[in-house]
C-alpha cells in the first residue's frame, strides 16, 4: 500500500555541509504491516519518515500510497492519510489549548475547518470516553491546557490524536525516546493495542533493540541513508535482541575496515 521507489534526499546540496540523508531507498509496505526501523544515529530514519509525511519534498524518486502518487503533495494534504507521533512530546500537541481542543482538532484531521462549534456536549462526551480508555485519569482534566501535562501523558494523547480517525498510515518517530522507562512502557503498550485493534499500517522508528525485536512483523535496518537489511515473517519472529546487536557490530567493523582501507590508500597514493 505504501511504496517508495529510489527515494533520495540531500540536505544543503552543493555546500560543505552537504548531507546525503537518504539515498536510493526502496520500500514496500503491505496493508496492515507493522514495520520497525532501527539504525545508527544519523542513518536517515527520521528523514525517511519525514519524506513520507511530506515535511519536505524529496529530491528524486517516487512515493505512492494506495496507488496514488503523493510525491509532490504538501504536508498538510498528506495528513489526511497519515497520523503522526513525534519524538519530542512538545511537537505533537498545542500547549496553550486544552486537552479537549487538541483532540477535537485531531478529530477533524484532513477535513476542511468550518464555522461549526468545535466543542459541543456530544464532542466532549466522546472525548471523555476515549481519553478514559488511556487509563491515565486524564478524563477529568480535559479542560486544562495540555501544556500542563507530563511528557508521557502528552505522548499518549498524541497517539490518541494520530489514531482518532483511522489513518491509512501511522508514523511513529522514536515516540518513547524522551520518556522515562515507565511512561515509555505505557505508551508502547498503548501503541501495540491501537495498532492491533485497528490493524493500522505502521512505520515505527525506534532506538530500543528490545522494542524492535518484540514489536511488529517486519524490521528494517538503516545505515548511512540506505536500507541495509530487512527481516520479514518467520525470520523477523526468530530475531532476538542479540542478533540485532551482532548485526550492528558487523556494520561497525565494516565501517572501520572501510576507514582503515581509505587511510591506507591515502597514505599510499596521496
Amino acid at each position: 500500500m505504501l511504496e517508495l521507489r529510489n527515494v533520495t534526499k540531500v540536505f544543503n546540496p552543493g555546500t560543505p555541509n552537504e548531507v546525503r540523508a537518504i539515498e536510493g531507498v526502496d520500500l514496500t509496505l503491505e496493508e496492515g504491516a507493522f514495520v520497525a526501523i532501527i539504525g545508527t544515529n544519523g542513518s536517515g530514519k527520521s528523514t525517511l519518515l519525514n519524506a513520507v509525511a511530506g515535511t519536505f519534498l524529496v529530491d528524486s524518486g517516487t512515493i505512492s500510497l494506495d496507488g496514488t502518487d503523493i510525491t509532490r503533495w504538501p504536508e498538510h494534504r498528506r495528513a489526511s492519510l497519515m497520523g503522526r507521533v513525534f519524538q519530542d512530546p512538545f511537537t505533537g500537541t498545542s500547549p496553550n489549548l486544552t486537552i479537549a481542543e487538541n483532540l477535537v482538532l485531531a478529530a477533524q484531521r484532513g477535513l476542511p475547518r468550518r464555522l461549526g462549534w468545535a466543542l459541543n456536549r456530544k464532542a466532549k462526551d466522546e472525548i471523555r470516553a476515549r481519553v478514559q480508555q488511556l487509563n491515565m485519569g486524564l478524563e477529568h482534566l480535559i479542560d486544562n491546557p495540555i501544556g500542563s501535562l507530563s511528557g508521557g501523558q502528552r505522548q499518549a494523547l498524541t497517539l490518541l490524536m494520530a489514531t482518532w480517525l483511522k489513518p491509512r498510515l501511522l508514523l511513529l518517530d522514536e515516540h518513547t525516546a524522551a520518556l522515562d522507562p515507565k511512561s515509555a512502557d505505557q505508551v508502547i503498550a498503548l501503541t501495540d493495542a491501537v495498532v492491533t485493534r485497528d490493524r493500522l499500517t505502521t512505520l515505527m522508528v525506534t532506538h530500543s533493540m528490545h522494542q524492535a525485536a518484540n514489536l511488529g512483523d517486519q524490521l528494517i535496518m538503516m545505515h548511512r541513508g540506505r536500507i541495509i537489511q530487512e527481516f520479514r515473517g518467520a525470520e523477523k519472529r526468530r530475531t532476538r535482541v542479540d542478533d540485532l546487536l551482532a548485526r550492528f557490530e558487523e556494520v561497525r567493523r565494516a565501517d572501520q575496515l572501510d576507514e582503515t582501507a581509505a587511510e591506507m590508500l591515502e597514505r599510499t597514493y596521496v
Binding site: P74, E75, H76, A79, T93, S94, P95, L105, L115
Partner: protein
C-alpha cells in the same frame, strides 16, 4: 465629565485596534505592523465614501473590508512568498500610505456636516431620551450626543468581542489558535497553516481598520497621518489588559484588551490634562511598551539573584 466620556469613547474605539493587535501578536506571534497603515485605510475608505453620500453603515463596513484585504496581502507576502513577517508588514504599510492618499484625494477629509455614525447615534439617543439635549448622571450634566455615542460604541465593541470569542471556539478558530501555538502540529493534522495566517491577519487588520473608521467619524475627520504609532498603542493596551486579568483564558484576555485600551486612554487623558506635551505621547508609549516587554525577564533575574543571595 466630558473629558472622561471622551476618553472612554476613544478607549472603546481603540479597543478594536487592541483586539486586532492581540490576534496578530499574541495568537499568531506575528509582529504585524500593517496596522499602522490599515488603521488609516479604514478611516480613509469610510470618510471618502461618507463624503460621497454613501450610508455610513455601509461606509464603515467597507472600511473593515479594506483592512481585511490589506491584512490578507501581508499574510500572503509572508507565507506564499516567504518574506520576513516584519518586512511584509512594512511593505504593505508603506504601500498603503499612497493608497490612502489616493482614496482621500488629499491628506485630510473633514466630515463635519456629513451624515456619520455619530449623527446616527445622536438621532437614536435623542429619540430614546425623548428629545432632551442633556441628561443628569449622578449629578453630572452629560450631553445627549456624548452619552449616545458612548452607548453605541459600547454596544458595537461588546458585539465584536462576543463575535470574536465565538469565532475562536469554532473548528476554524480553534485551528487558527493552534497554528500560532504549534504550526508543526497543525500541519500534521491536515491544516494549511499558511492559509490560517493569511486569514488571521486579514481579520486582525479588518478590526484595526474598523477602529480607524469609527475614530474618523467620532473625531470628525480622516487624516493620512492618523495611523502612525497605532501598533505600539494597541500593544500597550494588550499588555495592560493581560496584567489586569492575569490569565491566558481567551474570554478574559479579550475583555482585558478592551479594559487595557480604556485604562490606557484614561491615563493618557489625565496626563495630558496635567500638562504633558502631546508631542511626547508616542515616545512615552514606546518606552512604556519597552518596559512592559523587558519587565518579566528582569523580575525573573532579580528573583533568582535574591534566591542565590539567601542561599549564600
Amino acid at each position: 465629565m466630558s473629558l472622561l466620556i471622551g476618553a472612554l469613547t476613544i478607549g472603546f474605539i481603540l479597543s478594536l485596534l487592541a483586539l486586532g493587535v492581540f490576534i496578530s501578536f499574541r495568537i499568531f506571534s506575528f509582529p504585524d505592523i500593517t496596522a499602522d497603515g490599515s488603521s488609516t485605510l479604514g478611516a480613509a475608505v469610510a470618510a471618502a465614501m461618507i463624503v460621497n453620500g454613501v450610508n455610513p453603515v455601509v461606509a464603515t463596513a467597507a472600511g473593515f473590508a479594506a483592512g481585511f484585504v490589506a491584512g490578507a496581502v501581508t499574510g500572503t507576502l509572508a507565507t506564499k512568498f516567504k518574506i520576513n513577517g516584519l518586512l511584509s508588514g512594512i511593505l504593505v504599510m508603506t504601500g498603503l500610505y499612497s493608497v490612502n492618499l489616493h482614496i482621500m484625494g488629499r491628506s485630510n477629509v473633514p466630515l463635519l456636516g456629513e451624515k456619520t455614525l455619530t449623527t446616527y447615534a445622536q438621532a437614536i439617543g435623542t429619540t430614546v431620551l425623548g428629545g432632551r439635549t442633556s441628561l443628569n448622571v449622578m449629578g453630572w450634566e452629560v450631553s445627549t450626543l456624548d452619552a449616545s455615542v458612548l452607548g453605541l460604541t459600547f454596544v458595537a465593541i461588546a458585539l465584536t468581542g462576543v463575535l470574536l470569542y465565538a469565532f475562536f471556539q469554532t473548528h476554524l478558530g480553534t485551528a487558527m489558535r493552534a497554528t500560532g501555538d504549534n504550526s508543526r502540529m497543525i500541519r500534521a493534522l491536515g491544516v494549511n497553516d499558511g492559509n490560517m495566517i493569511v486569514l488571521g491577519l486579514a481579520v486582525s487588520n479588518g478590526l484595526v481598520a474598523l477602529s480607524g473608521a469609527f475614530l474618523a467619524q467620532y473625531q470628525g475627520f480622516a487624516d493620512v497621518q492618523m495611523g502612525i504609532g497605532m501598533v505600539v498603542w494597541g500593544l500597550a493596551s494588550v499588555i495592560i489588559g493581560e496584567a489586569l486579568v492575569g490569565t491566558r483564558q481567551l474570554g478574559f484576555i479579550i475583555c482585558g484588551a478592551v479594559m487595557g485600551s480604556i485604562l490606557f486612554r484614561l491615563l493618557v487623558a489625565i496626563a495630558l490634562r496635567l500638562g504633558l506635551n502631546p508631542n511626547d505621547l508616542k515616545l512615552i508609549t514606546a518606552v512604556f511598551v519597552f518596559l512592559a516587554l523587558i519587565l518579566p525577564s528582569l523580575m525573573r533575574k532579580f528573583r533568582s539573584r535574591r534566591v542565590r543571595l539567601s542561599h549564600a
